[in-house]
């Protein structure tokens, strides 16, 4: 042992703790859920359920911010998930804007509980939970693309569909926005190109399963949502915040390893 390199056990064991960047990313993910929850709650027409949802997310994020261990994040997350479901029952109109964060949250909580029940390491459980949330996001985008193809095939791209959608919204909103929508509606090739691009981005959602592709896909998806916001007036802020947070939270996983004892 004399003269040899120092034991690396301490270096290796440091990967068992959540590294700084990962901890920041974990917080970013839950802050994103908070924003998503606030934005979602604003869509609820019943003030009571709005404040219940807001409170649930606040407790949930506080538990994370305070480094709550063990079951607290899972319990508060499950409560938030259940309350979001309750808001569906109270307010039967479907609000897709708030559904994706709720579904991702549910997947995160369920995966975390299952992983811990299987006695997986807390760090590994967190990675599994995050991957489950990413899986739900990927499924949502792919599902949206398939739904369009199933309903009308390529007519969604090739018809004057997007032009009509934009023209309908050119009657509402400030003048500058109306003029943009009208110009787009009057340019058939642009409408076809934009519709094709959005359909392609949705169908490509499956690449969000790949951690290395997540940031590129998130940028494409955010651009699509911004286009939808300008042309159609639907601001899917929770989706944008969620997909960006999940993409940037996907740092290389710190898989805990047993400290090596065979080092010289």
């Amino acid at each position: 042992m004399n003269g040899g390199p120092p034991p690396r056990a301490s270096t290796i064991s440091s990967t068992v703790a959540i590294p700084g960047s990962s901890r920041w990313a974990r917080r970013a993910f839950f802050v994103a859920l908070l924003f998503a929850g606030i934005a979602a709650a604003m869509n609820v027409r019943h003030a009571g359920s709005t404040w219940v949802i807001f409170g649930a997310f606040a407790v949930y994020v506080a538990a994370i911010a305070l480094h709550a261990r063990r079951l607290v994040p899972a319990i508060t997350g499950a409560v938030a998930f259940a309350l979001l479901g309750l808001s569906w029952w109270v307010d039967p109109d479907v609000h897709h804007a708030k559904l994706l964060p709720a579904a991702a949250l549910g997947a995160w909580v369920a995966a975390w509980i299952v992983a811990r029940a299987m006695r997986r390491d807390p760090v590994v459980a967190e990675i599994i939970a995050r991957e489950a949330a990413c899986g739900v996001v990927a499924a949502a985008y792919v599902g949206a693309g398939i739904a369009k193809l199933a309903a009308s095939g390529l007519a969604w791209v090739t018809s004057s569909n997007l032009a009509l959608l934009a023209a309908e919204r050119a009657i509402i909103g400030p003048d500058w926005l109306r003029s943009i929508r009208l110009e787009v509606a009057r340019t058939p090739w642009l409408c076809t190109a934009l519709a094709a691009a959005s359909l392609a981005i949705e169908l490509a959602g499956v690449v969000f399963l790949l951690p290395r592709a997540r940031r590129v896909y998130a940028i494409a998806a955010v651009l699509m949502h911004l286009g939808v916001a300008v042309l159609l007036g639907y601001v899917y802020a929770p989706w944008m915040v969620l997909i960006v947070a999940l993409a940037w939270a996907s740092v290389p996983p710190a898989i805990p390893r047993r400290p090596r004892t065979d080092l010289p």
Binding site: R45, A140, K148, E168, A185, R186
Partner: protein
């Protein structure tokens, strides 16, 4: 991957059952040749329907356009909900304002690579209300 498969399969089988959804936003809007945009008019001027209450003479369940697709049905549903919850009682006087619920029917005429937007108006309901 498991979450992807579970959510995709669940959404396809169950449809709009929390937390599943097919996210079929605008999926059914393709192939149409016209679109209806709801407008609320008082004396020919566009207004916000929530600026009025104590409605009479308007059936909130009959506000959707009968035969033209409308991609803004949520606006109509919101208005119908508002009107239903702010109806005039039998003892209250009829409002002084005539409120008209109409649709601007839009169509796009594509010729030679350029699009022309055509528009006509169809009234679906008319009643009385008070300004709040």
């Amino acid at each position: 991957m498991i979450a992807f498969v579970v959510y995709a399969a669940g959404s396809w089988i169950l449809g709009e059952v929390y937390p599943f959804s097919r996210f079929d936003m605008y999926a059914s809007s393709a192939g149409r040749s016209e679109g209806a945009v709801p407008v609320f008019l008082v004396e020919g001027r566009e207004v916000d329907v929530t600026d009025y209450d104590l409605f009479s003479g308007i059936d909130p369940d009959a506000l959707l356009p009968p035969d033209v697709p409308c991609s803004m049905e949520y606006v109509v549903r919101d208005a119908a909900r508002w009107i239903a919850s702010h109806r005039k009682s039998e003892t209250q006087p009829e409002g002084p304002v005539t409120i008209t619920i109409a649709y601007r029917i839009l169509s796009i005429d594509e010729t030679d690579g350029a699009s022309t937007l055509r528009e006509r108006t169809r009234v679906v309901a008319e009643g009385r209300a008070w300004r709040r």
